[in-house]
Amino acid sequence: MYDFLYLALLAGLGVAIVAGPMGSLVVWQRMAYFGETLAHGALLGIALGMWLAWSSSLAVIVVCLLIAALLITFESQQMLATDTVLGILSHSSLALGLIALTLIPGVRTDMEALLFGDILTVTVAEVTLVWLMAGGVLAALWRLWPMLLSITVHEDLARVEGVPVERLKIVLKLLLALVVAISMKVVGVLLITALLIIPAATARHFAKTPEQMASLASVVAMLAVCAGLAASWWVNTPVGPSIVVSASVFFVVVFLGRGRQV
């Protein structure tokens, strides 16, 4: 009877689990702006998907990977600061995506659903894709975790110790692109970074090790998904923003609680 609700919950939890460790890495490596850029690029991906009649998930993944590749190329040129390059890529792709979507003949896109998520309309196929990709990303992160931490702490030191730093950084960006692609349906392009960063920042207060932070961040993200869906169900608020607001509330509570202890 409430199938759509269970599907929404399943999709949200799948994204939340992978958002924990990925979000922690984004926070540690200060890749928030990069995540934002990928998210904006996702909109362009949707447009591309409609033009070419591809599945939107596939198109989003392709465009995210393309943006990641562009950024890696620009970074290696070292002509502009990374945040400048990100600013160019981010806003160009957002603007281009918005224009492309309005130009598609005969299609009236629900812009709000794209920008802020539309988790209540996920299909079984989409939920399956979310879990498959979340599982894949988690497996990759699990395998590479010690090396990813090592380059987070000190790149040159890791390099001297034989860690393939450049390759890892590329892999991390590609993994982030995958996470953005599956998060899109849940919270929309404008709120994806929030889902990555806020749970990780909330978990930081309780964590003594990087692993504790990553797994606690997953828990916080999952709680936020449940709370957001519940709010949406009872108070009839939009789901994506409700999830992000729930996460923010957790963060504020923890932040204030910490202040009291000190």
Binding site: P146, V153, D156, Q212
Partner: protein
């Protein structure tokens, strides 16, 4: 502080170099940073790179570490070369919760090895502490422990006493000297400090895009190229070390409590035995006054 390293004999020429650099040149864009630099690192010898900012010290260290490729010249590494690297500074983002033990484990070490390395550098009690709470000296010792875990035959130490107070610097240099003796490893150090490091060094290489001069600390400190680079007021001094320092930087007077004598006119080799030689740069003197 007896047995100053400066009294060591130059290493046997037949000894195989851990790493040998010949005619190294490196430019960034069109700006030359290194020109025709030769460097030879041997087991059991401490070589210190000194030079002003922008002299190419970091670039040369990166070439030794294999992080940068030179534009020209030859780098020959011994097949057994195993480098332990201590970076100049470690900034750990406060959002990353990390304990000292975990930091050391990145060097592929188990708990027992980590503890042994921490014990060797004298901070075993900090094993479970968060890295972000360490003092400057503790941080440097932790970095040194991680370098040791690589079981190195060459230690590359970039400004190893940065952010450490003068007493701590002396202790750290002493530890580095002991490690050299224990491991018989080669050590390449980078330093700004001309005072304490001289006493802990076998060979000084004075770098300013090219090698201005090199040799024992005594030879280098009277070299015209060195004096030109660091100023005429830079002079060799010797002093009798008549007191010991306790752990709180206080001076514990020994039997002879005559004040230390600084003889800025003395340009020869320092007396052997209870004295050690070093160089005081006038610019650095303020910082080191407490110890002189």
């Amino acid at each position: 502080m007896n047995n100053p390293a400066v009294l060591r004999q130059p290493a046997d020429a037949s000894m195989t170099a851990l790493i040998e650099l010949q005619g190294i040149g490196k430019s960034f864009a069109t700006r030359p940073v290194l020109q025709a630099v030769n460097l030879n690192l041997l087991p059991g010898r401490i070589v210190t790179l000194i030079g002003p900012n922008g002299a190419g010290k970091t670039t040369l260290v990166k070439i030794v570490l294999g992080l940068l490729q030179p534009d020209c010249g030859r780098v020959q590494r011994s097949a057994q070369l195993q480098i332990g690297y201590m970076p100049q500074k470690l900034y750990i983002d406060p959002t990353l919760p990390l304990q000292v033990e975990r930091f050391l484990q990145f060097a592929n070490a188990d708990t027992v090895e980590c503890l042994a390395a921490l014990e060797r550098v004298g901070i075993a009690h900090l094993m479970k502490q968060p890295v972000s709470g360490l003092s400057g000296g503790e941080m440097q010792r932790m970095l040194l422990a991680r370098a040791l875990l690589r079981k190195p035959n060459l230690l590359v130490l970039d400004e190893p006493v940065q952010g450490v107070d003068v007493t701590g610097q002396e202790a750290l240099y002493q530890l580095i000297g002991e490690l050299r003796d224990e491991l018989n490893c080669g050590i390449l150090m980078v330093s700004h400090d001309l005072h304490l490091v001289m006493a802990a060094t076998d060979e000084v290489v004075c770098l300013n895009q090219h090698v201005c001069c090199h040799g024992t600390p005594q030879q280098v400190s009277v070299d015209p190229a060195f004096v030109a680079l660091f100023g005429a007021k830079t002079a060799l001094y010797t002093h009798d070390h008549d007191h010991e320092h306790d752990l709180h930087s206080g001076v514990v007077h020994g039997p002879r409590s005559a004040p230390c004598q600084q003889d800025s006119l003395r340009n020869g080799f320092p007396d052997k035995g209870s004295t050690h030689g070093g160089v005081v740069s006038s610019a650095l003197q303020g910082k080191n006054q407490a110890d002189v």
